[in-house]
Amino acid sequence: MIEQIVLLLSGCALALGCFFMLSGAVGLLRFPDFYTRMHAAGVTDTLATFLILGGLMLLAGWSLALFKLGLILLFLFFTGPVASHALARAAQHSEWKLSGSGSRGGKRGPAEPVSAPAEVAEADALNTDRV
């Protein structure tokens, strides 16, 4: 009886995890600029990871696997924000810097670069050439 409940719970967690993960991926494809895509990626990195690993933990029961899953979860939770912060900081050093303060309106389209248009074109060429 209890086993079945645990199985059901883990199934629910996995299904919800899949849903959040897919939503995040759709956001990653659909959102208009780099910084907003980072928010979408955040969804797949936090709640989806938590739900899927949580579902697996329920399946694992009391064993070493449970601990290892916990370790993976902990590790992903600690490194996730560090990686996104490093990404944002690197982008901040680039041509796609956020301007000093205030906010952009609700526009679609790439983040407005602060540098002159010529430099941006050059930067674009740089990006496409060397990747």
Partner: protein, 161 residues
């Protein structure tokens, strides 16, 4: 000394739980690698209050529980934004914005914890910390407003003290 001991305990726990084989040979290897790591960490002067925040041990679980609820809540908001942008492509559902938030947190540990928490909740990302200002990018103005109200900051300050 306290911090070295706690590091030894953590490393031993990780070794024992990851190995799953408890033969004398492997336990010796475990001891040796723990000793090596301790030696390296002490030489690099990594073993201190900052890397082993023992004073937070009592308060952290409560904070993480609150943060988890926050993460779930903001995840739902971002997911709603995603699906609205899929089903009604014509109207603009998101209004990305960014702002510099002043923070009254003093210690580096507090600032890092605060910025990390901001990044961990989807919808807001801490881009940079300059002095006592945090540059935050958010999916919409609500995210910034919520941070301005300072709920998270207050909780981090409680941890800081």
């Amino acid at each position: 000394m306290r911090y070295t001991l706690s590091l030894i305990a953590v490393l031993a726990f990780i070794w024992l739980a990851n190995s799953g084989l408890y033969t004398p040979l492997l336990l010796t290897f475990g001891l040796l690698s723990i000793a090596l790591v301790i030696l390296l960490a002490r030489r690099m002067q990594l073993v201190d209050r900052e890397s082993q925040p023992l004073h937070l041990a009592a308060a952290l679980p409560g904070y993480y529980w609150w943060l988890l609820c926050k993460i779930v809540q903001s995840n739902l908001q971002v997911v709603a934004c995603v699906w609205r942008s899929v089903f009604s492509p014509s109207e603009s559902v998101i209004s990305p914005t960014h702002a510099r938030l002043r923070t009254s947190l003093r210690t580096d540990l507090g600032k890092v914890l605060y910025a990390n928490s901001i990044t961990l909740t989807p919808g807001t990302v801490a881009v940079a910390i300059e002095g006592d200002e945090v540059l935050v990018h958010a999916l919409d103005a609500d995210g910034i407003e919520e941070l301005r109200r300072g709920d998270m900051e207050r909780r981090v300050r409680v941890l800081e003290e």
